[in-house]
Every structure is written in structure tokens, then in C-alpha cells.
Amino acid sequence: MSAISLSNLDISYGDTKVVHGVNLDIAEGESFALVGESGSGKSTILRAIAGLAPDWTGEIAVLGKTRSHGIERDVARQVQMVFQDPYGSLHPRKTIDAVLSEPLDINGIGNRGERVEAMLGAVGLDQRFRFRFPHQLSGGQRQRVAIARALMLEPKVLLLDEPTSALDVSVQAEILNLLKRLRREQGLTYLLVTHNLPVVSFLCDRLAVMRQGRIVEVADVELLKTERLVEPYSRELLAATEGRVLADTPS
């Protein structure tokens, strides 16, 4: 069964259509990356799956069930999102304990204290952080909290929107290791949005390159690692990452 399947998905913000006819099929347990420059619609796809961009047509199916345009609690329990900016995505006046308990509260799940304690352990945060506020934590620690919050409901799928782009390289390494370990331990499916191709090499199995709201290429990560992406735009991205100009592209 596929974890996420999108067919003929068009997404608009008001009168502007930003995603055009996207078809994607992500298997359960897979780690899939969407790459492309800002404005290419990659985050918008995540938002539509999460229910944050309700203005879409086509079909979005999560774990075999098509989702509606409204808020769906079933979907929310299985699909959770981690946002880019750990400084903006945590409520400044809620303690870490409150942030992590909230999803449990909403879904009427008991045993909250123990679950919060276990989750802090799982994301590698010391218990002493439990009753602190976000401003008392570093960027990397906050991103761990954001990941912990997404995992509180034991979802099957994580939508990761540039989870490390606001972090230092050494902290990025810690978070990437954490994401890799969690996926292995809990059999999670990842849909990762990033513009950092080396991160894709490290964390993902397949990738889709997007440009101007369309998917231009879907490829296995092996092709990325060996620099055998086919589409000119994908090769351009790859070249930009490595800071060189492709010899065979006219410019």
C-alpha cells in the first residue's frame, strides 16, 4: 500500500495556481524528497497533504484513504508535519511539556506524563528540558522538540519541510542522524522538502525535482549520488550545489 499518493493534484492560493497536475506515489516506509527552488510549490504540496492548503483539486490519498478538503483527525493522527523554523514553530509561552502533551490532549490519549518522558528520551533530549520554555533552548534542541511533537501521536508519515536549513552544519548532522534513526526504529515514511541535495543523498531513497509547480523528474537517489540525473534543470541544481557551471549547458 502506498503511504501517500497524489493524482492530478492542482493547488491554488486564491486565484494563483501554484502546483500543476502532480502525480506521485510514495510507498510505505520510503523516504522521498521534493527538491527545487523557492516558489516551485514543494512546500505547498506538503501543506495540502497536511490540510493547511485546502484549495486543491485532484486526489490526495493517505495510507490508502482519500482525504477531504477539511480538517481530518484521522489523517492528522497518521500524518504529522515538522516545520522549517524551530524559532517560529513552537509556542513561546508554552513549556516543552505543554507543547508535547497538547496533541495527546486533543486526541484524548491518556498516560501523558509517561509518553512525554519517553518521547524526550527518543529524540535525545534530557528530562531537565521538560518544563523549560522554547527560548531557553538552542535551535537544535528546539528542532528536536518539534520532531518530538510530530511523533507524539505515533504517526506513520512525517512531512518534513526543510527541517535543517535553519541550523548550523554540526547541529544539522545531529538532526539528520536523529531522523535517520527514528525512521529505522519506527518504520516511518518521510516526505522531505529541501533544496539541499547532499541532505537528500544522506536521508532519502528517491527524489522528485520540481520547477514552477510541476515535477520535472523523479529519480532514484543512486542517480543523484552518481550525478546521472537526466533533466537539464536537475543537472543545473546539482551544478549549483557543487558551485560549478555545467560545461555542456549554454548560458
Binding site: 527552488e37 545531529e174 539528520l176 542522524n177 547532499p198 543523498s201 549520488k225 552518481t226 558551485g243
Partner: protein, 277 residues
């Protein structure tokens, strides 16, 4: 040839409840008309070093140095008024985020004009010509139209190019670029840095590029200083980054995933190792 900038034993400190905390702990370097990269993580003091050179650190922050000289001028003894004649005109700085550095209620053209006429009296027609030429130099198509736009109407990459135009139009001798591209996409990043690189090389300016991205800095600079916790831990030529010796530099390099990644786990910096230094 005398160096453009020479810094000796530069220290920046801020008072806290537990006494003064030094964020830059006595660093020294000289800069000719070359491209120098300063690399380090958040909190390493790299931005503070850049700001100290422009005397932008306000009280209660305290800057001391045995020597802080720009082209023979002792920055330490300059008054605010004298500094204003240096900032922009002779040393200018490109900040990280165009969204917060541009004035939201002035058009792009007006802002660039302001940067120019503050330092130079020119007839309006000449000002306009310079602005359009500068916008063209930072590779903005249709400069006439863009000059009339407000900052919220331009994209991040274009905003950053406007910033660069603004900083370069008074033709300074030294450009300090503090994370000029970290708010931008990879594909735009390269463009913006190429523009800076072109202008710096063609005008023979000095450049200090401050960034946390080792690879990027090694690509665009001649020399690199690696900073950690307020000190320079390593200095090397950009081409010899892979021969870096210090464990911190090596750790940073290893922590970055690469395109042909085959490691199962990325090595993580052991921070306690440098806690004493």
C-alpha cells in the same frame, strides 16, 4: 604594500549578570585587496568581528583592540561623525536578510539613491543613471521597473541583489558580506556570490565573506579563517581546506553530508573537546 585592514588582538565583550562575557577573544588578521572568508558556527563571534570593524557595536558592548586600522585610519579613535563618512563610502556591509534590511516604505530606487547621495553630491540625472547602471551590474533585468518597486514586491534573491547594489554604489574599498546568501536558494546563492565576486575582482576591492558554509567560502575566497568560540582556530588558503589540521575544522567538514553520501551516520562534533579553549 600596506594592508587595507589590519586587526590586532580584537576583543568584543558584553556585560551579563555574571560579569563580562567575551564573544571575540583577541583575534588578529590583516587583509589586503583580497577575499578573506571567516567561517564558524552560530555564536563563534564571526558577525561580531565584522561589526566591530565598522564600529557598529553599541554600548554596553565593548570593543578593544591593540590595533584596528583601515588604510592608515585608526578606527578606534574615529568619532561617530567621522565613522559615517567611512561607512558605506569606504567600507560597506551586506547583511543576511534582505527582508529586514530594506526600508519597507521606500522604493528600491530611492534607497539606492540615498546610499549614493549621502556620500556624493550629484545632479539627479546622474544619480538615476548610476542607479540603473548599478542595478544592471547586479544582473537585474528591466532596472527601470525594479527601481520603482517596493521591497515587498521583489523576491528574496532580487532583494539581496538590491542590497548589494546599494552597498556597492558608493564604490567602497572594502565589502563585508555577513551571510549574504543564507536566506536564499542554492541556485540563486551561486548567482549572488558570482555577482559579488565579479564586482569585487573588477573593482579591486577587499572582501570579507562571513558564513557558516565552509565549502561556499572555500569557493569564493583566497584565504579562510575558521572561528570557534571567539578565537581563530585555523587559518589556511582556500584551496587547502582539505588539508586543515584543527579538529574543529575537520569536524565541521565531516559533519556535512556530500552528494555521493555513503555514510550511515554523520560524525557529530564533540563540543566538550574545545570547551576549555
Amino acid at each position: 604594500m600596506a594592508p587595507l585592514l589590519s586587526v590586532q588582538n580584537l576583543r568584543v565583550s558584553f556585560p551579563t549578570h555574571r560579569g563580562r562575557v567575551e564573544v571575540v577573544k583577541g583575534i588578529s588578521f590583516t587583509l589586503g585587496r583580497e577575499r578573506l572568508g571567516i567561517v564558524g558556527e552560530s555564536g563563534s563571534g564571526k558577525s561580531m568581528t565584522g561589526r566591530a570593524i565598522l564600529k557598529l557595536i553599541r554600548k554596553p558592548g565593548l570593543v578593544t583592540a591593540d590595533r584596528l586600522e583601515f588604510d592608515g585610519v585608526d578606527i578606534r579613535s574615529q568619532s561617530e561623525k567621522q565613522m559615517r563618512a567611512i561607512r558605506g563610502a569606504r567600507i560597506s556591509m551586506v547583511m543576511q536578510d534582505p527582508k529586514f534590511s530594506l526600508n519597507p516604505v521606500m522604493t528600491v530606487g530611492e534607497q539606492i539613491a540615498e546610499a549614493l547621495v549621502t556620500h556624493e553630491k550629484l545632479p539627479r540625472r546622474a544619480v538615476n543613471e548610476r542607479i540603473l547602471a548599478m542595478l544592471e551590474a547586479v544582473r537585474i533585468d528591466d532596472p527601470q521597473r525594479v527601481a520603482g518597486l517596493y521591497p515587498h514586491e521583489v523576491s528574496g534573491g532580487m532583494g539581496q541583489r538590491v542590497m548589494i547594489a546599494m552597498m556597492l554604489i558608493p564604490e567602497p574599498e572594502l565589502l563585508i558580506a555577513d551571510e549574504p546568501t543564507s536566506a536564499l536558494d542554492v541556485s540563486v546563492q551561486a548567482q549572488v556570490l558570482d555577482i559579488i565576486d565579479d564586482l569585487v575582482t573588477s573593482k579591486g576591492m577587499g572582501l570579507i565573506l562571513i558564513s557558516h558554509d565552509l565549502n561556499l567560502v572555500s569557493r569564493y575566497c583566497d584565504r579562510i579563517l575558521v572561528m570557534n568560540a571567539g578565537t581563530v582556530v585555523e587559518e589556511c588558503a582556500a584551496g587547502e581546506l582539505d588539508k586543515a589540521q584543527h579538529p574543529y575544522t575537520r569536524g565541521l567538514l565531516a559533519a556535512m553530508p556530500v552528494i555521493d553520501e555513503s555514510r550511515d551516520e554523520l560524525p557529530v562534533l564533540d563540543r566538550t573537546q574545545w570547551a576549555g579553549t
